[in-house]
Amino acid sequence: MTQMSKNGFPVERIREDFPILKQLIHGRPLVYLDSAATSQKPQSVIDAVVRYYREENANIHRGIHYLSERATADYEAARRHIARFINAPDPRETIFVRGTTEAINLVAHSYGRRFIHADDEIVISAMEHHSNIVPWQLLCEQTGAKLRVIPITDDGELIVDAYAKLLNSRTRLVSVVHVSNVLGTINPVKRLVEMAHSMHIPVLLDGAQAVPHVPVDVQDLDCDFYAFSGHKLFGPTGIGLLYGKTAWLDQMPPFQGGGDMISTVSFERTTYNSLPYKFEAGTPNIAGTIGLGAAVDYFQGVGVEAAARHEHDLLDYATEVLAAIPGVRLLGNAPEKTGCVSFLVDGVHAHDVGTILDQHGVAIRAGHHCAMPLMERYGLAATARASFAFYNTLDEINVLAEAIDEVKEVFS
């Protein structure tokens, strides 16, 4: 079966790079439509991690021996590479963390401790993942600050006028998602940043679902912080990145204390290391970082724009095919979308949909997607979500549709 997308994207050749996609699940070819939960990894990423452990495993920034120098060089090369990928002006502004969750917690903790006090306000949106809600709630509990929520339309778009009204002299931070993990909405983040900046309010963008799908340029967005996870970007788990502007990072106290983040330590006084090391306490995930560097390499080889065009075709086709199935309802109809389709099958709980699809080899996510307030906004307990990456094919969407027919048959 040779498949090209409408615009000639060589998806079958690309699929060869992902060994996991070759397997059968319950006797059927795997149809992996859960990349928003975690993406699959190309062989080059797997090889990079293995090569690090086989050939150069050593601790970094401290050894004077050959392996340590090599590991340090590769770790820092990965940082420069990933910094360029999001067009960060200076690699010192890119801090390695475990993932988006840790990145947001770092800002909540360090920026929060320095800049947020009782009766200050933090603005998030109604479509946030729990990782961009709970850290702020914890901060509010500790400081007496208040959380303000930008409402959304039924179609799943942020109500920008309402956002404008939320911003005021007590607002200390805006933290919003770039691309929704449930609705697929691409938020007008550049505009949101401009509006906040006009009132001197900094903005954090949660880019977990954005970086695998849309080109991200942090200088163009002009955001103050940008967070994403490596494992959703074809890299290993346990590694992610926080970009932050030096002007803020310099004013923020360290997040965790320990090795690597210090300059000198005595029992009387500790001075901290320079950026980015001030925020990277302890031995980092060296293999993960090198793996993420390889993932970015691979993704750029595929072409971020070409991948986005192919995914757009997948999304359009999936929307058309699912909307045509009687009894299937789509959630999230924003004009600017990427990455996923959330849907409901009349009279069938999403978990039952998930189990039946799995028997067809189709992997989707079913549940609240770690966005319970968003589910509540729509009066739902759960949805089924098919999410895409550039390695998915139009044919796989046909398999999804056939499997949904089976769901309806079982529950007829």
């Binding site: 069938v348 709980h349 999403a350 978990h351 039952d352 189990t355 039946i356 028997q359 079913a366 549940g367 609240h368 319970m372 589910m375 307990a381 759960a382 089976e406 079982v410 529950f411």
Partner: protein, 150 residues
């Protein structure tokens, strides 16, 4: 697909479509709320207890077909039974769906609940089948809330 037919038997689908005792119970003197934080399923179990006899039982909540059918069949299965009998029945159901224990499930004891046997082939659905039971157990023990994450 045979596992699928085994899981979604007609009895299960029937209880999902028309759950029995799916209401609140004003005469209940034991009420517990069960919650599975992983999937968001919620169930509230109302028990009217006279001495150690379950004279009435009902449930409310939302969840998948397996959890709803299991809750429905549970209420039918334990009504009129003693708390000891209800607990023994839960143990048997748990053994059947989780596949623990070497012996075959006791079909005489389980009755129509044997329809849940197909769950055994779907380990990630065991929690769906047992949420209501854990919640009933909590109610019998006087717990108001059962956070369940098996």
């Amino acid at each position: 697909m045979s596992d699928l037919r085994e899981l979604y038997q007609e009895v299960i689908l029937d209880h999902n479509r028309s759950p029995r005792n799916f209401r609140s119970l004003e005469t209940a003197n034991r009420v517990s709320e069960g919650h599975n934080p992983l999937c968001g399923d919620e169930v509230k179990v109302f028990v009217e207890l006279d001495g150690n006899v379950i004279t009435d039982i009902a449930f409310q909540g939302h969840g998948c077909a397996i959890s709803k059918a299991s809750a429905s069949m549970m209420t039918s299965g334990v009504k009129g039974k003693t708390t000891g009998e209800a607990e023994a029945l839960f143990e048997e159901v748990h053994r059947m769906v989780a596949g623990d224990g070497d012996t075959q499930p006791n079909a005489d004891l389980l009755g129509r609940l044997t329809a849940l046997a197909g769950v055994r082939e779907f380990p990630n659905r065991v929690k769906c089948a047992t949420l209501a039971w854990h919640t009933m157990n909590g109610a019998l023990k006087g717990q108001k809330e059962v956070v369940f994450n098996e």
